[in-house]
């Protein structure tokens, strides 16, 4: 057990899924291949020692910390995979931090170009999260779908509404 219900194998699998979307069939570039060392980590401390893995400290006392893995994408290395606590539960979900929140005024010379980068990043993030889900990895969307399915089953069994 490494991060909540997620073990090192699943985190490494998520890195590979992310990399396939972000870099194509060739997967992780050479300077990021060390991220797959996560697979062999037997403790949180060891995972955090892998270059490119970081802890995201929560500012809320009752909330668990999250984690980020700097997988990057072709042409935009700062993009990250996130492993975040799911609400107030002990579950974690995979996601993408596009790492492109920059306050640029609309009259800045690079504004239009940066908007294109952000738009591309957002689209890629959506593809990556759908790929996580298809690979059986928990995401915000998959958890909501699971909740809806369970809740509807309960309501049907009870023959009523919430």
């Amino acid at each position: 057990m490494l991060v909540g219900q997620l073990d090192a194998e699943r985190i490494a699998k998520a890195v590979e899924v992310f990399a396939r979307e972000a870099y194509g069939d060739r997967g992780l570039p050479n300077d990021r291949r060390h991220l797959l060392e996560i697979r062999g980590c037997d403790s949180l401390a060891r995972m955090l020692s892998v270059k490119g893995v970081e802890r995201l400290k929560s500012s809320l006392a009752n909330r668990l910390d999250g984690f980020a893995v700097r997988v990057g994408r072709t042409g935009y290395p700062p993009m990250k995979m996130t492993i975040l606590p799911y609400g107030d539960t002990s579950d974690f979900v995979f996601g993408v931090d596009t790492h492109d929140r920059l306050e640029l005024p609309p009259n800045a010379p690079d504004f239009e170009e940066f908007q294109k980068v952000r738009q591309f990043n957002q689209q890629l993030a959506g593809r990556i999260e759908r790929a996580f889900e298809a690979a059986g990895l928990p995401t915000q969307a998959s958890m909501l779908k699971d909740f809806l399915r369970r809740r509807r089953e309960q309501l049907e069994a009870a023959g009523g509404t919430a």
């Binding site: 799911y86 609400g87 909501l144 909740f147 809806l148």
Partner: protein, 134 residues
Amino acid sequence: MTGRNVLIVDDDPEIAELLAAVLELYGFAARTVNCGLDGVRVALEHRPDAIILDLMLPDIDGVEVCRRLRSDERGKDTAVMLLTAALGDQHRQRALDAGVNRYMNKPFDAEGIVRELIELMESTVNRPPVPPVN
């Protein structure tokens, strides 16, 4: 909370629709839009009881949406919950200054957001229920 209208503003259409489905299971009437400018327009036009607003939007961000709502008589009393993936609190003060009533981290769990929404509406909504908008 049956029949209370909630506007969801999130640039991820799938998450917005899933959240709307969750809220509808609890008796809310939910409407979704996927950008900030649409959020302002729809909120002022339909006057929902509450707005669940993502911070990160493709045009203007959630805080700016809230600021624009608060500057209009039709949006000044609407309950606003801001969702953000940011774990830190760097946006918190900016959000509160803009008139955000509640702040919640993403990813959120379904029951948690319903609980927060009910608390928010009980504490801020004074208007009588209005018919659902569809």
